[in-house]
Each structure stands twice: as C-alpha cells, then as structure tokens.
C-alpha cells in the first residue's frame, strides 16, 4: 500500500506506533510494516518528514541518543500527542462503523 492511499491516516498510524513507547524512525517504519502484516510497506523516506511535522505540531518530542556509535533521534508521544491519538481512534471507529453499516 503506498503513501497516497494512506493519505490522511499516516499521522494516526505513526502516533499509534509510538503509543507503546519511544522509537527512532527506522523502528517506527518497521513497526508499521509488522503491525500491518506487511501491507504498509511505505517508501521509507516518507515517514521522516511526517515525524518532523508531528513534532513541530507538538504531538511528538524527540531527543538524540547513541546507538552502535551513531547518533540516533528517538521520538516519543507528548501528552498532546496522546490526546490527539485518542481522538483519531474515536473518529476512525465512528467512520468504520458507519461504513460497515452501509456496506453490510
């Protein structure tokens, strides 16, 4: 599934992968791939700009760490990010129920 099809949902998906705990960009992408059973195999360069924007919007915070002698930027959800994720989850559930009701 490409980024175009995920447009509008990628923010929520990225926030959800970070709900379990802090992670760096590569781990976020791998987690997305894993949780979606391989369906969300995104062009990996698409996720980093989203991480930066979510941080600029105050939904994520980040800090440098060291890993294997390299600098690594690790992201975590902020309180605002958690609130935003909860709202997005509710919206998604309502949407799914409504679509299900029509399609069923």
């Amino acid at each position: 599934m490409n980024a175009e099809k995920l447009k509008g949902h990628l923010d929520a998906l990225v926030l959800a992968t970070l709900a379990e705990g802090p992670a760096h960009g590569y781990a976020v992408i791998e987690e997305l791939k894993l949780r979606s059973g391989g369906a969300f195999d995104l062009a990996e360069g698409t996720v980093y700009p989203v991480l930066h924007r979510l941080e600029a919007e105050g939904l994520l915070a980040s800090a440098w760490t060291e890993a294997a002698g390299r600098r690594r930027r690790v992201y975590r959800l902020t309180r605002r990010g958690r609130t935003s994720l909860a709202g997005r989850r509710r919206d998604w559930q309502s949407f799914v129920h409504a679509v299900d009701a029509v399609l069923a």
């Binding site: 960009g25 062009a43 990996e44 360069g45 700009p49 989203v50 924007r53 390299r70 690594r72």
Partner: protein, 252 residues
C-alpha cells in the same frame, strides 16, 4: 557519503540548512546503517517531502506569531491613543500610525485565516505575503506612535522582530524552482461573500469614524471629513494592497 552530501545539497536548494539539515541527514544515515538496502528515495525526493511538510507548519506558526505580535501592537496603540491624546509629536506620524494600524489589522487577520487552512503552495505564499505586509504595517504603527510622542509604541518592537524572524524562516523553505506568482484566487477563498463582506466592513468602519467625528468633536462637518478620509484611505489601500494581500484575484 555521496548520498549524505547529495541530500544536504538538495535540502539547501529547498532552503533547509543548518541544524535542521544536519539532523535530517543524520537520521537518514542512521536509517541506512540499520538497513543498507532501505528504499528511502532519492535525495531530491526526500528534500521535497520535507519541504512540503515543514513549510506548512512553519507558515502556520509564523501567521499565528505575527497575529500575536500585532495584537500586542494593537493594545499599545489603543492605550497610547487613549492616554496620549494630541500632545506633542508629529501629527503626520500619528496619522501614519492610524493608517498602519488598520492595514496591520486587516493583513494580520487575513494571514491567520489563510495560514491556518493553508495546504497548497499558493495558499502558503499568500499567507506569508499577508504576514509580511502586516508586520511592516505593525512596524509603521510602532514607529508612528514614537514619532507622535508616544514612545510606548516601541514596546511592540521585540514581538514584531521575533514574528519577522519566524516568517523569514517559513519563507526560506521553498521548493527549488517554484514560481513566485500571485495567488489565483482572491479573498473568495477566505470569505463566503467576499464583495458584500468587504463592502459591509468598509461601510461599517467608515460609519464608525464618521460617528466618532460627529460625537467626539460635536461637529457634522468634522465627521464628514474624517469619514471621507477613511473611505478614501480604504479605497487607496485596496488599490495598492489588494493584490499583494490576495484580496483581489489575479485571474482575469
């Protein structure tokens, strides 16, 4: 090394430099170290994606910052107008402050309106241009007040400078090769009935100035003169700043 230097160059071409560029390159280097075969895209594609994401956030933030700085400026203006009266200073400076305050209010409000909803490159450019006009007008208010003897106007300067820096940072991020044309849609993108709304607002402001002249000076002729000057000023402002502010469409 080639990928990193190419990415740095592409980011610089899009106006992303310094600490932010270093951070992006370091993150992508770390990613490629985790998986050397990762499909991260070409340096140009990565730079374009960062540009598209970051310019929206920065423009939005700059628009809000400009509005906040202008709100402080407006408060200083109102306090100065209420307490300073007509004593001392140049009357021309006072007149300039009054004119600039109106431009700053209109341009700042329009900048926030477009900035908060901006998605397209055109929307971002118009929000940035409105913010720029608003801040220049805000500077005019601060200096005009000082020229009129109300040095409290200078209190607004630090906020205006900070907002101008934020706006400059937002404007710096521009996709390489993007054209800087005028906006294709005018005020209609911000207001449901643009012509009617503008006419009503203009009439309301002119009417308020007329009444202020009549009541304040107890003189119908003074009200008519002030109202006339206000109406002429609004017309002149629309003619001069209509296109830069995206009030009128460039589409013919």
């Amino acid at each position: 090394v080639s990928f990193s230097s190419d990415l740095r160059s592409e980011l610089a071409r899009n106006g992303i430099r310094g600490v932010l560029a270093h951070r992006i390159v370091a993150e992508l280097e770390d990613h490629l170290a985790c998986d050397p075969n990762a499909n991260v895209g070409t340096p140009a594609e990565i730079a374009d994606r960062f540009t598209a994401e970051l310019r929206i956030v920065r423009t939005r933030r700059a628009s809000i910052g400009s509005f906040a700085a202008l709100a402080i400026c407006g408060a200083v203006f109102l306090v100065a107008a209420g307490t300073h009266g007509r004593s001392g200073g140049s009357p021309w400076a006072a007149l300039a402050a009054i004119a600039c305050a109106q431009i700053a209010l209109v341009a700042g409000t329009l900048a926030v309106m477009r900035g908060l909803r901006a998605r397209s490159a055109g929307d971002l450019r118009i929000a940035q241009r409105r913010g720029g006009v608003a801040l220049v007008a805000g500077l005019g208010v601060a200096l005009g007040l000082a020229g009129a003897g109300a040095f409290a106007g200078l209190v607004a300067l630090p906020g205006l400078i900070l907002a101008a820096r934020a706006l400059r940072r937002a404007r710096a991020i521009t996709p390489a090769g993007e054209e800087h044309g005028f906006e294709e849609h005018g005020i209609g993108a911000d207001l449901p009935f643009p012509r009617v709304t503008l006419a009503l607002l203009g009439t309301a402001v002119t009417g308020a100035v007329f009444l202020q002249g009549v009541v304040g000076e107890r003189s119908l002729s003074e009200g008519l003169i002030r109202g006339g000057i206000e109406a002429a000023g609004l017309g002149l402002g629309l003619a001069l700043l209509g296109r830069p502010l995206g009030l009128v469409s460039s589409a013919r």
